[in-house]
Symmetry: C2
Subunit: 122 residues, 2 copies
C-alpha cells in the first residue's frame, strides 16, 4: 500500500473503533509516538509496539468515550495528517468526571509501507 | 514570541483575512512552501518571500472566495498545524465556475522566532 492507501485504511479502522487492528497491520514494530504533552509519569515519546498498546489501553481505561470522529486523511509525500475530535469524560485526575471536547491533529510518517512515526499536536 | 504565540497570531491574522500581514511579520525571508500537488506550470515547492506572495496572489486572483475558516492551532514543539476550510469557486481550469468546499492541513515549522517552512497537506 502507498501512503494514501495506508492513510485511508488508518482512518477507516479508527472510525470503526478498530485501533488495535490499525496498530497490528499498519504500524512498524519500531514505531515512535510523540505527544505534545503527557500525563504525570508518562513519557512524551514512546517507542515500540508494546508502548503504543499500553498508551492505547491507558486512554480507554481512563476515559469514558462518548464519541470519536476522524477527519481526513490529508497527505503530503510520505506523511499524512488526521484531525481527531473526541467527546469524552476523564474518569480521574484534575478534569475527572467532567465531560469535555478534545481535538488533535495526528501527523504520521510512512516508511517502507509501514507507519514509523505518529505525532500528536494540540 | 514562542511557537504557540506565533501559531495563534497566524490563525488570528488568517481569520481576519490579513494573510499578507502574516507573511510580512511572522515569516522568515527564507520561507520554504510545499504543496501536496500544484497547478500546471507551478512548482510544488517554492522558496523566499516573493514566491509566497505570488502564490497568494494567484490564489486570490483565480478563486472567488465565499468563506475561509481556520481551526487550531495544534502545537508540538517547534511545529504547529492549522486546518483550513474554504468555500470557493475557481474562476478557470477544469473546475472553473463550480463552487466547491476544500480542506487542507497546513503544517508550519518555526525557527528563531520565525516561520521557516509551511507544508500543505490534502
Amino acid at each position: 500500500m502507498d501512503t494514501k492507501q495506508i492513510a485511508q485504511r488508518l482512518v477507516d479502522l479508527c472510525r470503526a473503533g478498530k485501533n488495535d487492528e490499525a496498530h497490528d497491520t499498519l504500524y512498524s514494530s519500531d514505531i515512535v509516538s510523540t505527544e505534545a504533552s503527557s500525563p504525570p509519569g508518562m513519557p512524551a515519546e514512546t517507542k515500540g509496539m508494546e508502548a503504543i498498546r499500553r498508551k492505547g489501553e491507558w486512554w480507554v481505561q481512563n476515559h469514558e468515550i462518548h464519541s470519536a470522529t476522524a477527519k481526513g486523511p490529508f497527505t503530503l509525500g510520505d506523511r499524512f495528517a488526521v484531525l481527531f475530535q473526541y467527546d469524552v469524560t476523564p474518569k480521574m485526575g484534575p478534569g475527572g468526571g467532567k465531560r469535555m471536547q478534545m481535538e488533535e491533529v495526528a501527523l504520521y510518517t510512512v516508511k517502507d509501507g509501514k507507519i514509523v512515526r505518529e505525532e500528536f499536536m494540540y
